[in-house]
């Protein structure tokens, strides 16, 4: 039977005490009362035990002096009884104290010797009372040495704590001692080899039934690896943040719905976003992000983003983004979704590269290319003309000189007809030579003539637009193609048709340069007319023609570096294909040039006449 509660113990003590009192009165033998004293001492406490000793002394004196055996023997016996009762009380008091701690160690409290890690206990005043073998082993002292340390100075154990941690630990320990709050502390403790390792120290106060602190029981857990890992983790995180903030790239994160919620420092600095003043993260609307782009790019950016977010596909686009100084710079933006195992998008990772310098370099390179190409074309044309002029000038010079001689022999006095006749022969030879030069030049250019065959003008238009893609981009011209998907094939010289379309598109682009209009758009329409022709119209939004009829004249140009040959050549080509080329001004602004050629002209196109041959030379080069 176990009597665990105070009440039960007291009841049992009272019952045994009462029984022993009754037995003493019944047998007139006061020594039985010693049982009652012992029970009260053990079960209730030593103060109660002292009262019991006094009560038992009084009761035994009543018993002894009421007996017939007389006062002499009674007084002696009473004295012996009291001494015995006191002795009993004293012995019980000692053992009761000892057994109390045993009970705490083995019962309600943890067994410090067995707990993992370093175990310790302390007196209520904070002095160290016990350390477990693991702790002794850790700090590298024997039990006897530890006992000397514990008995010596009150806080001699602090020698095992890292000097930097002693002060804070002591302050917390004193605080715990005063308030009785559980100890949760982290400190570095010295190992036997002199190295310090981090420990987490947890301890609770043990209290008696009155709530008084009877001691402290603590355990120290080695958290050094954890601590180091945490430090390393923090370091890595710092490194990572440093990396994210210093890589020469703008990095940002967005929620699956496309709400930006993180920008790296470089991005913040670049775009001039104030991270602190910015609305709470994740609430910054996607729409407002789009507004950072150049007005011309917004629609395209929005479309690309929305498509990408809707489909969850990685995204790449280029656009002009507003920097903090208000300048728009070209950026190359790339996004990748991060997905969980189920494929759900967790967030979007984005990087922006500032490619403005490259784009501008490319642009200027392209412009330089164009200038160079133009210069080369001009050079080759003038070279060609010089060489043609030289070829023709030689026989012409001979004709002129011989004619002069011819005249002089005839007008001489007397006229020398023999010489004149000889010179006249030479003049005829010189004129023949000149005609041969012209024939050679013609032959040279007729070599490039291609055989007419069935071609799709839509294909021609697309190829030319591809060819001029860079020019269109750099001059900011938007292409507006309306190609008839059921356009019949027509028989024509593919290269010549390309030349015509190229010339018309180029003219359209150039017509819109240096014109302040909102939208530079070039409209190209192909259509099948009922009269058996196909028609291609190129319409720009430039200033229009001041004189639509003159533009087809050779050497008529409105361009500073133009030869004035382009449209004349185009018209020759189209007319050689039995078609028509005409120009109009558009009422809403701009100019329109249209050509139409018959669908079946294959039989009629055999040769491009010699008259167009030299203009075609211009078409290839201009």
């Amino acid at each position: 039977m176990e009597l665990t509660s105070t009440k039960q113990r007291r009841a049992a003590a009272l019952a045994i005490g009462a029984a022993s009192v009754l037995l003493a009165l019944f047998v007139d033998e006061p020594y039985v009362l010693l049982v009652a004293v012992a029970v009260i001492c053990i079960c209730i406490g030593w103060e109660a035990g002292l009262v019991a000793v006094a009560s038992a002394g009084l009761l035994s004196s009543v018993i002894l002096f009421s007996l017939e055996s007389g006062a002499i023997g009674g007084a002696v016996r009473l004295a012996v009884f009291v001494v015995a009762a006191l002795a009993l009380w004293f012995v019980i008091k000692i053992f009761r104290t000892m057994s109390f701690y045993d009970r705490v160690y083995q019962g309600a409290g943890p067994n410090i010797a067995d707990i993992p890690g370093l175990g310790w206990s302390a007196y209520p005043d904070g002095r160290l009372r016990f350390v477990n073998p693991a702790a002794l082993e850790y700090v590298g002292v024997t039990a006897d040495e530890m006992r000397r340390i514990m008995d010596g100075d009150d806080y001699h154990w602090t020698q095992f704590v890292h000097p930097d941690d002693v002060e804070a630990s002591m302050a917390r320990w004193h605080h715990n001692l005063e308030t009785g709050e559980p100890v949760i502390d982290e400190q570095r403790v010295r190992r036997f080899d002199g190295t310090y390792r981090w420990f987490r120290d947890t301890a609770v106060a043990s209290r008696d039934e009155h709530g008084r602190i009877t001691g402290w029981y603590g355990q120290m857990e080695d958290i050094d690896d954890q601590k180091k890992a945490e430090t390393a983790l923090r370091e890595r995180e710092r490194e990572l943040r440093l990396l994210v903030d210093t890589v020469p790239t703008m990095i940002w994160l967005m929620t699956p719905a496309g709400l930006p919620y993180y920008f790296n420092k470089r991005f913040l600095d670049w775009a001039g976003i104030d991270a602190v003043k910015e609305e709470p993260r994740g609430t910054r609307q996607f729409a407002s992000h789009v507004e950072l782009f150049h007005p011309d790019d917004r629609a395209a950016v929005k479309a690309v983003f929305e498509k990408s977010f809707a489909r969850g596909e990685p995204l790449q686009h280029k656009g002009r983004l507003c920097r903090k100084d208000g300048k728009y710079r070209w950026i190359d933006s790339r996004f990748e979704p991060l997905r969980d195992e189920d494929g759900t998008i967790l967030r979007w990772y984005g990087v922006n590269f500032d490619i403005d310098d490259e784009v501008r370099a490319q642009e200027s390179l392209r412009l330089a290319d164009e200038r160079l190409a133009r210069a080369l074309r001009a050079a080759s044309l003038s070279e060609l003309s010089v060489s043609i002029a030289h070829e023709l000038n030689q026989p012409l010079q001979a004709v002129v000189a011989n004619a002069g001689a011819f005249q002089r022999w005839l007008t001489a006095d007397p006229p020398n007809f023999n010489h004149a006749s000889r010179v006249a022969q030479k003049i005829i030879r010189n004129a023949d030579a000149a005609a041969q030069v012209v024939a050679r030049i013609r032959a040279l250019f007729s070599k490039t003539e291609g055989a007419p065959h069935a071609i799709d003008l839509n294909v021609v238009i697309r190829e030319v637009c591809d060819l001029l893609g860079d020019t269109l981009t750099s001059s900011g011209v938007k292409l507006d193609l309306h190609l008839d998907p059921r356009l019949p094939a027509t028989t024509a010289d593919q290269v010549q048709m390309e030349q015509v379309v190229l010339n018309l598109v180029r003219n359209g682009i150039e017509a819109m340069q240096n014109v302040s209009i909102n939208v530079r758009s070039l409209r190209i329409v192909s259509r099948h007319q009922n009269d058996g022709t196909v028609e291609v119209e190129v319409r720009d939004r430039g200033r229009g023609f001041s004189n639509p009829e003159r533009i087809f004249e050779a050497f008529y140009t409105t361009k500073p570096d133009g030869m004035g040959m382009g449209l004349a050549i185009c018209r020759s080509i189209i007319e050689a294909h039995y078609g028509r080329l005409w120009a109009e001004n558009v009422e809403t602004g701009g100019a329109s040039i249209t050509f139409s050629i018959p669908i079946r002209a294959a039989d009629s196109i055999h040769t491009i006449t010699a008259a167009t041959a030299d203009s075609r030379m211009g078409a290839f080069r201009d």
Binding site: V386, H390, N393, P395, V400, A401, G404, A405, A433
Partner: protein
């Protein structure tokens, strides 16, 4: 080829250089019709290799030729001390080129096809220039020959006379008597065919630098 038929030593000759045979022939025909003898070459190198006749002449030079260009030939001839006047002909008028040619001493720079009269005028001018040049050069050569006949003392006297010294001064400079100076001076003037002191000074200035 095309060697002049005239035997008269001082009749002018035009030297035509053009790579085009028809042009060459026609120009010769034209020049011959006005009585100018011609020699022709088809390249600049042929001109350099040939010995040019010692007659009043001019070069009719095409700028554009394979191998040596007309301008190259002009420079090479100048470096050899041949100062025959040049009339350039070119297929295309290039201002920079014509300026260069004129600076180097060309008489004219004509663009093909050139009118016959313009061409003949240019050639006449060039030949006239050469006649004058040759006359000056011949006079100089003759004076030098006369100078060679002077005694050393007469040469000394000549040098002092053209520098403007009086007889008395010459006598003291040379350490001889004034009478002897007058004698040397008179002999010197006779040998040099000098009619007057000013004539003598002109002849002196036409002398090559090494004599002076």
């Amino acid at each position: 080829m095309g060697v002049a038929t005239s035997g008269i030593a001082e009749s002018p000759v035009a030297i035509v250089i053009d790579d085009d045979a028809a042009v060459r022939d026609a120009l010769e025909e034209l020049l011959n019709s006005v009585g100018i003898d011609t020699i022709s070459f088809s390249s600049g190198q042929e001109v350099l290799d040939a010995t040019l006749p010692d007659r009043p002449s001019c070069l009719v030079l095409d700028v554009r030729m394979p191998g040596l260009s007309g301008l190259d030939l002009q420079n090479l001839l100048a470096s050899k001390g041949i100062r025959t006047p040049i009339v350039f002909l070119t297929g295309h008028g290039d201002i920079a080129m014509s300026v260069e040619a004129m600076k180097a001493g060309a008489v004219d720079f004509l663009t093909k096809p050139v009118r016959d009269q313009t061409f003949l005028d240019a050639v006449s001018t060039a030949i006239a220039t050469d006649v004058a040049r040759r006359a000056a050069s011949t006079a100089s050569r003759n004076s030098v020959a006369l100078y060679e006949t002077l005694t050393p003392r007469e040469r000394e006297v000549l040098k002092l006379v053209v520098s403007g010294a009086m007889n008395k001064q010459i006598a003291s400079d040379l350490g001889i008597s004034e009478i002897t100076v007058k004698l040397h001076r008179s002999n010197m003037m006779k040998k040099m065919n000098a009619r007057s002191i000013s004539h003598l000074i002109n002849v002196w200035h036409s002398f090559p630098a090494d004599i002076r």
